[in-house]
Symmetry: C2
Subunit: 403 residues, 2 copies
């Protein structure tokens, strides 16, 4: 049967059947007015669960604990806090992360082994465990609680990122929420992403498709290996949609993979758009690369270049910065073959500038979404990366983060 | 005989004997009031000459021409312009770069083969050859002209960078000038460095020690492989000091190497301090690494981190960002062994925070030079990298570069 993937209006992590969520203000976020900062995601049955973790050599305590808990590939709930990363906190931090799973387990009637934990916020501070212990009783789980959950994981994010898709003809849906805002240099932003599905999915397949989806989405607003101490993307499949178990060989395998990628790309774009101080979304497409690795590398290098980001911010058609970034990406390229379009206007052909109307490109750069397309003309591989412009406000935000 | 390296007050590229220089405003820089933008460095005799070029895959026309000219390791003069990089300009650009050497040759009575060429500025524009041809006659070469030369190679630099050392007991001196300002992300700044010496130096040895000196200086404010289309460091040795030819085996080999490194480090620090929008010099020392490559990699990653740079700008002792940058540097490290000092105050021991007076560190961060020392406690290798803080002004400068 033909399947159709559609986004659900106002969908999120509790859109798939059998999931509920809730959040509370525990006073972990060090802000004037109380903000939601402690949240639980809950499934009515145990879920096959897959995760992708940060590759940073310094791993936060919740990463250590969640990794251990996931050895069997099963989880029923997740407790998350923002405001404190519980990173660089030694043995005490691991105990606190473990305690968080126990606190959530007591509140939800689960065993601590069924609960995962994630944190995001300032590095080096210890979690205020008493406040968390006191506050958790205020968390009321409901199918309407997905939005509060999305709000509670935000740090410098200005808007929550939520989405859900339903796959008609296959009978399942997938929901998700993500946070991550210091994305102007994505390499150090904490990215958290929680995904849910009411499909029944084999754990091995779930791990595989999650990794693939993260590679074409969050890893394209981020730089491989350059991740924060706390990054985590996870997906819980509770099978409450009633369909058959999806494995690599299932008829619905491709539909699931495709729907998950669409969802993750949607969330990744929202993260890029909401980069700290960002005013524009930049989408960089690199075509004509020798292989996918090259295409990804060049696209990410361009989207991460502060000189490209500042040029876009200033509506400056400074295409030389794009070419320069491609040149230093480490990928072998032929300068004489490069073709570049910004906002659909061709600026470079065969490696050097063609005549174009400066004012036309300036106008294109004034839009809220900027497309940069670079054709290397060396092969057939293509990749897309997302980022945002760099504004004075980015510096202001990051100069004042802890003080 | 014991040698002593001393900096010469107000020294520069014309401090060594037999060198002269001069500059003129040719109207290449697109600024309101006329600024020096075309310069010649001249030696009264042919020089053994060594150079290090950008590793960017896209190489500007002057790089192509100078590389060809240097095949014999000899040069007598250099012509340089700022305001236009002559990059991404195809065959026409190579012709223009060649023409520049001919224009300088005619003006100085040399053959074009004896003249090198360098450019820095906006990518993609063609050089205004008529203006250059007209203006060159206004360049008057003198031993006092080093400062004008240093001024003429500046782009967004706010101050010229010049220095010279004399090595007493060895009878030679070395002078130099450098430019490079977009150094908050050094990977895309154009770095030009011109060095002169009145020592007689064997070309093979000159190449070797120049590469070593660049590795511990300019490459530590820059990121290997992440260089602009136009980067070039070169050294000309004219032997006018009268000493014997210095080779690898010479008694003065070590003194020459050491003096050159000191000079290059001085210029590199000045470049870091004058980064676009910079208000502070950051010096990152990484100790206790397994090998030099690891030490260099971690030091550079920290000094390049925009979150470290913005924290320093805001006087924010956000040591978590330093640890995170070390963690994503790609170097294997043991988080539990890290020790960190900022401004001489220890903040982290055995991988987690020690108690410190926040106000003390804030005060240290208010200084104009900030020292960050990270001990990996894994070995004995050490490296130093330099950078600057990141201010709102950096974004402003780079949003408005060409428009």
């Amino acid at each position: 049967m033909k399947t159709i993937t559609e986004f659900i209006a106002s969908g999120g992590i509790t859109s798939p059947r059998g999931f509920s969520a809730g959040a509370v203000s525990a006073g972990i976020k060090n802000s004037g007015s109380p903000r939601l900062d402690l949240a639980i995601l809950f499934s009515e049955v145990a879920c096959n669960t897959a995760a992708v973790f940060t590759r940073n050599r310094v791993q936060a305590a919740p990463i250590i604990v969640t990794r251990q808990r996931l050895r069997e590939g099963k989880a029923t709930a997740v407790i998350v806090n923002s405001g404190c990363a519980n990173a660089c906190t030694g043995e005490a931090g691991v105990k606190h992360a473990t305690d968080m799973t126990e606190i959530a387990a007591r509140h939800t009637g689960l065993s601590p082994e069924a609960v995962l934990v994630a944190s995001t916020g300032v590095i080096g501070d210890c979690l205020p465990m008493n406040r968390i212990r006191d506050a958790v009783s205020g968390i009321s789980l409901s199918v309407d609680g997905g939005h509060d959950f999305a709000m509670a994981i935000m740090t410098t994010d200005t808007v929550p990122k939520e989405a859900a898709v339903t796959v008609s003809g296959a009978g399942f849906s997938i929901g998700g929420t993500a946070k991550g805002s210091g994305m102007i240099h994505p390499d150090m932003a904490t990215l958290l992403c929680f995904l849910t599905t009411d499909a029944a999915v084999d754990t091995a397949f779930l791990n595989k498709v999650l990794k693939q989806a993260v590679d074409v989405s969050f890893n394209m607003v981020s730089v491989d290996g350059d991740t924060s101490t706390n990054d985590m993307s996870l997906i819980m499949a509770n099978g409450q949609g009633g369909g058959e178990m999806i494995t690599e060989e299932s008829i619905n395998a491709a539909a699931f993979r495709e729907a998950l990628q669409q969802l993750c790309i949607r969330l990744a774009r929202e993260i890029a758009r909401d980069g700290e101080g960002a005013t524009k979304l930049i989408e960089v497409t690199v075509k004509g690369a020798r292989d996918l690795g090259d295409a990804r590398q060049v696209a990410r290098t361009i989207v991460c270049s502060p000189l490209v980001k500042t040029a876009v911010h200033g509506n400056d058609p400074n295409w030389g910065r794009v070419i320069t970034a491609a040149g230093y990406s480490g990928v072998e390229l032929d300068a004489g073959k490069l073709e570049l379009e910004i906002g659909g206007v061709r600026l470079v052909k065969n490696g050097f500038p063609v005549s174009f109307k400066h004012a036309d490109v300036v106008r294109k750069l004034e839009a809220s979404e900027i497309s940069i397309v670079l054709d290397l003309n060396l092969g057939n591989a293509e990749a897309v990366a997302w980022g945002c412009d760099m504004s004075e406000e980015y510096v202001t935000i990051n100069s004042e983060y802890t003080t």
